[in-house]
Every structure is written in structure tokens, then in C-alpha cells.
């Protein structure tokens, strides 16, 4: 049970604002779970409730099987890596890492040993005497990690810890934090608004919106099969099409848009004949190189080109729908605006979405 977290229909409001709307979530011991969502979705509130900085209005929180209601932050078996690190400016690097150990009543020699080992873990060996203002952003990040993991918490809470790093460093730290988590085997509960960061690091992702968990899934499964408009949109599914199910048979649903564009979707059992439906198609699943490997081929005209370096996004008008088609640099050919093209995509790439 050590490292498990149970969140049982927890509600938290600030005045009229509902930050968390009866959220339930089970975190498994030793997993890397990411709370993903835009700002204001309640993800940070959830973390702060677990850390003990806030009290839920309703519901129960269990950490390692124990109800933590009424227990102050300093008595909880969790530690936090803060968004802006919150390192103590009046202490050295080693002094920061030692802070929690001192609070536990450990003495000189064993503190020094643990601090040295923790600094080694985050690749800061030998920097123990540095002042905090002498560190780079990445080093501060590592000190914040070392300060928390040295206490061997049951659960480590990370509140957008990469937000202040530049993109290149962020990518490095993502891999490093992921490796650290695998080595320690500690439960990591990681908050971010960056879907790419979530995909790189998490075992499971809980997508949050408006104080609710929209979808909780293994990372690959979530990416492959978003269930709602919000999740699809947040995970970068850029073709969202509203249509009506004209017919369902043989594992395929035939969909027709208001403007009369017809295409087929693999039936997941959720299509009802005559009912309105929202579907999503990832832009990289749509091809326009003429290879007729899809179940759907639609004629269109090229509207616009957006050059992004390693890939190019094309806007293609087909009937009343403007599709976004992504091509990698290797696939891209010279094309002119207004040129007729043939779009193709498999029925399995058409994902039925719920309106959230």
C-alpha cells in the first residue's frame, strides 16, 4: 500500500469557483501519473490538497492507505517539488537538501552522508557549498528534486517543475526525472499543462478540465484513443468534424456532414443511425500523396501551407470541411495553393468523441 493514493469524490471551492468537482482518482504504488490540463482545471489544487496546504470541502484523501484528513503538511508522507523551486536563499545547496533531514532530528554524520548521496543522484555532486543564487535554472531544479527525494517520501508531488526552464533543458530534465522515478520506484504525481511533457514522462495520464477528470488512461492508450472533444483538442487532434451517422453496418459507420461530405469510420459500437456525432482525425493520419491505402478518399483543394521546419501543415478544403494534413519534411513535395489533391485516411483513424 505504500505509495498508493486514493482520492475519493473530493470537492474544493474558492468562493463561487469550483476548483475540484467531486474528483476520484486511484494512484498505484510506484507509478508515474501525470495530471494534465490547462490552467484553472484544478490539477494544482489537487496536488496542494495532497500536500496539506489546502483542505477539501468534501471527500477523502488516503495516502499509503491512511486518511490524511486533519494532518498538517509536516506530518504527511509526501514531499513537493514546487513550480519555482522554493529553495531557501539563506542556505547553501547542501543546507537546502539537509533541511528536511534536520527537521526529522537526524544528526551531523548521517545527514552529510544522505545529502551527498542525494546530490549524486541528481548529478550535483561537489556543488553542496554553492549558494542558491549561484545556480542555473536546471541546477536549481535538481536541488529541489534532491531536497524532496532525500526524505524518501511515499509519494512525490511535482507542480509544473519544468515550467521555468528553457525548452532544450526541459527536454533533458524530462528524461532525467523519468529515469530518476524508475530508479527510485517512488510514486510520482506530476502536474503539467504541456501535453508533450506528459507523453514523454507519464505511465498514466489524467486529463483534467473544469475541476473534473475527463479521461484517465495509460499514456499510449490516451494518445491513441481520446474519448472527448476536450481531450482530443488538448492532445492535438486537429481535425474535429461534426457529422450525422447515415448508416452503420459491417463494422463501419458512414458519416455525412451538413455540407454533404461522406466518409467512413470504424464502428466502436457508439454510432446510432441518424444521430449527430463528433469525430476527430489526427492530422498525421491523413495523407494526400495519392496513395489510396485508406478506406476514405476525398477530393479537395489546397488552401494554405504552414511551414514548421521539421514538418509542414497543409489546409485542405474538402466539401464543407477544412482538413489539416501534417507531412514530415521527408514527405513534403512542392505544391501550389489552389491545387487539387486527393485526401485519404483509414476508417480506424476516425475517432468518435463525446462532447464533454
Amino acid at each position: 500500500m505504500r505509495g498508493a493514493v486514493s482520492i475519493e469524490s473530493v470537492r474544493k471551492t474558492y468562493g463561487d469557483v469550483v476548483a475540484l468537482d467531486r474528483v476520484s482518482l486511484e494512484v498505484r504504488p510506484g507509478e508515474f501519473l501525470t495530471l494534465l490540463g490547462p490552467s484553472g482545471c484544478g490539477k494544482t489544487t489537487l496536488l496542494r490538497l495532497l500536500a496539506g496546504f489546502e483542505t477539501p470541502d468534501e471527500g477523502r484523501l488516503l495516502i499509503s492507505g491512511k486518511d490524511v484528513a486533519g494532518r498538517p503538511p509536516y506530518e504527511r508522507p509526501v514531499n513537493t517539488v514546487f513550480q519555482h523551486y522554493a529553495l531557501f536563499p539563506h542556505r547553501t545547496v547542501a543546507g537546502n537538501v539537509a533541511f528536511g533531514l534536520e527537521a526529522r532530528g537526524l544528526t551531523g554524520a548521517s545527514i552529510a552522508e544522505k545529502v551527498a548521496r542525494a546530490l549524486e543522484t541528481v548529478r550535483l555532486a561537489g556543488l553542496g557549498d554553492r549558494r542558491i543564487d549561484q545556480l542555473s535554472g536546471g541546477q536549481k531544479q535538481r536541488v529541489a528534486l534532491a531536497r524532496a527525494v532525500v526524505l524518501e517520501p511515499d509519494v512525490l508531488l511535482l507542480d509544473e517543475p519544468m515550467a521555468a526552464l528553457d525548452p532544450k533543458l526541459r527536454k533533458e530534465m524530462q528524461v532525467e526525472v523519468k529515469n530518476l522515478q524508475e530508479r527510485l520506484g517512488t510514486t510520482f504525481l506530476f502536474v503539467t499543462h504541456d501535453q508533450e511533457e506528459a507523453l514523454v514522462m507519464a505511465d498514466r495520464i489524467a486529463v483534467m478540465s473544469h475541476g473534473r477528470i475527463e479521461q484517465l488512461e495509460r499514456t499510449e492508450a490516451l494518445y491513441e484513443r481520446p474519448r472527448t472533444r476536450f481531450v482530443a483538442d488538448f492532445l492535438g487532434v486537429r481535425n474535429l468534424v461534426e457529422a450525422t451517422a447515415a448508416g452503420v453496418e459491417g463494422g463501419l459507420a458512414t458519416l455525412r456532414t451538413a455540407g454533404g461530405l461522406v466518409f467512413r469510420a470504424a464502428d466502436d459500437g457508439g454510432y446510432r443511425e441518424g444521430a449527430a456525432v463528433l469525430v476527430g482525425i489526427r492530422s498525421e493520419r491523413v495523407r494526400m500523396d495519392g496513395a489510396r491505402d485508406g478506406d476514405n478518399t476525398l477530393p479537395g483543394t489546397l488552401d494554405d501551407e504552414i511551414y514548421l521546419g521539421d514538418r509542414t501543415d497543409w489546409r485542405v478544403r474538402a466539401g464543407d470541411v477544412v482538413f489539416t494534413v501534417a507531412e514530415t519534411a521527408a514527405q513534403v513535395r512542392n505544391r501550389r495553393r489552389g491545387e487539387p489533391v486527393m485526401l485519404s485516411f483509414p476508417a480506424a483513424a476516425v475517432l468518435r468523441l463525446e462532447e464533454s
Binding site: G52, F53, Y74, H90, F99, L151
Partner: protein, 279 residues
């Protein structure tokens, strides 16, 4: 080169004020302290060290020591009384009331200190409000005025805002996530206070202590009005030498020694003070 000329220009008014209102009077004081007193209280321009010899006689050293003690106690009491107020204002009060409460801290400055000390006399004297209240409860009156207690009360009352304001400034900008981090890492509220909050607000404490200690050292209003003149402090000594005893050279010598003592203190505490000004 241009930046340097600009810096000089910008500093000029300040330097002029310092030269005219500090350096010049201090030089005159130094000169006066080395001259002699004429029989009618004027100055005789003959050099002597007699005034300084008199100033270090045991009686006057004792008065100087008493003044240090008064200033030290005033500072300590202001710190103890002011810190919780500043903490509350800086971290606990809802932002809606914060400005109004800060105005309350500064409000006493709208009236002269002299007038406010007279108000204390009305409260503390034998037939004052406090003793009237005690009498109404059937209790005997307390000797509240014209003693060291009254002097201390007046001093702490007068200097408290000068402690609260710098303390508030340093507590208010304290990064709250540091307090959360301390709790998160297992520090109890007491431990957090000693290991995080106090060390991080030390610059504000140093500034506040200085702002209270130095004026208290030369205080003469509260000792004069609330101490009833029976309890002599160095401020009263200087004032009475100029105004009553008409012994300017001796008054100047004592006052100059006091200035030297302040500078010695500033030098002694230069390191924490630099930290305070950087923060």
C-alpha cells in the same frame, strides 16, 4: 564619463543638505567642545580638553550607560512587540484591510510627539484615566508617571512604528512558497519560524532595530516629560547644558561623544546592515 557627471549632479542636492545641515553643525560642535565657557554662557575661543575630561567623569559615564540601556531596552521591546504585528500585517491580514491597517500604524505621526506625550500624562498621572478606572474598581492607584517605567512606555510607544514598518516590508515580500516548502519538508510551525521566517526577515529586523536604537540613544522628550526630569539620560543632559546650564562647550562635548558612539555602533554592525540594505 557622462554617467559619472550625471551621478554627481544627481547627488548634489543631497550632498549640499548633508554639508549644510550635518557636516557644518558637527564641525561647529567639535570646535565649541574644544573651547571654554564664558562666565555669561558665551564661548571663549581658547582651546582646552577640559570639557571632555569632565564628560568622562563617572557621573556622566553613568548617564551615558543609562541611555544605552534605555535605547537597548526600547529596541528590544519594540522588536518583541512589533514583530507579531508586522507578521500579521504582512502574511495574515486579508488584502482588503491591509492598507487601512497600515494607515493606523502611521496615524500617530499626524500629531506631534510632544502632544502625544502630554496625552500619556493624562492617562498615567495620579488622577489620570488609568488610576480613575482602578479607583472605580476599588483598587489603590498605581505610581505610573514620573519613573523609568513611564519613560520606557513613552519611548516604546513613540518608536514602535519605526520598527513595524521595515519589519513589515521584509515580511510582506517573503516568498510564501518558502513557508510551504518548510512545512512540506517536515518543519513544525516553531521550527519553520526559527529556521526560515526569522532568518529571512533578519534584514528587516536589523533596519528596524537601527531606526529605533539611534534616536532612542539621544531621546530627551519622553525622559523629560514622563520621567519628570528626575531620571537623567544623555539627551536631557545635552539639552539642559545648552538651554538651562548655558554651558555650550560641555554640552557640545557630550553630544559629540554620543555621535561618536553611534558611528562606532554603525561600524560594529556594518555587516548585517549591508545585508539589510541589499535586501
Amino acid at each position: 564619463m557622462r554617467a559619472r557627471r550625471q551621478a554627481v549632479l544627481l547627488l548634489l542636492p543631497c550632498l549640499a543638505v548633508l554639508a549644510g545641515l550635518f557636516l557644518l553643525p558637527q564641525t561647529l560642535m567639535l570646535a565649541a567642545s574644544l573651547w571654554q565657557r564664558s562666565p555669561y554662557g558665551g564661548l571663549v575661543r581658547e582651546w582646552t580638553l577640559a570639557n571632555y575630561a569632565r564628560a568622562v567623569e563617572p557621573l556622566y559615564v553613568w548617564i551615558l550607560l543609562r541611555s544605552f540601556w534605555l535605547a537597548f531596552l526600547t529596541t528590544l521591546l519594540c522588536l518583541v512587540a512589533g514583530w507579531p504585528v508586522a507578521y500579521w500585517l504582512g502574511l495574515r491580514v486579508s488584502p482588503r484591510f491591509k492598507n487601512a491597517l497600515l494607515v493606523l500604524v502611521i496615524l500617530p505621526f499626524w500629531t506631534s510627539f510632544l502632544v502625544r506625550l502630554y496625552a500619556w500624562i493624562f492617562l498615567l498621572r495620579q488622577e489620570g484615566l488609568v488610576n480613575l478606572g482602578l479607583g472605580a474598581l476599588g483598587l489603590p492607584p498605581l505610581p505610573l508617571l514620573y519613573n523609568d517605567f513611564a519613560v520606557m512606555l513613552g519611548q516604546v510607544y513613540g518608536e514602535l512604528p519605526f520598527m513595524i514598518l521595515p519589519l513589515y516590508a521584509s515580511i510582506e515580500k517573503l516568498d510564501r512558497s518558502l513557508l510551504e516548502a518548510a512545512a512540506d519538508l517536515g518543519a513544525t510551525p516553531t521550527r519553520r519560524l526559527w529556521r526560515v521566517t526569522l532568518p529571512l526577515t533578519a534584514p528587516g529586523m536589523a533596519a528596524g532595530c537601527l531606526l529605533v536604537f539611534i534616536p532612542s540613544l539621544g531621546a530627551f522628550l519622553a525622559p523629560d516629560l514622563l520621567g519628570g526630569g528626575r531620571t537623567a539620560y544623555v539627551g536631557n543632559l545635552v539639552q539642559s547644558q545648552f538651554a538651562v546650564a548655558r554651558d555650550m562647550p560641555f554640552g557640545a562635548a557630550v553630544s559629540f561623544l554620543l555621535t561618536l558612539a553611534v558611528f562606532a555602533l554603525l561600524w560594529l554592525f556594518r555587516r548585517p546592515l549591508r545585508a539589510a540594505s541589499e535586501a
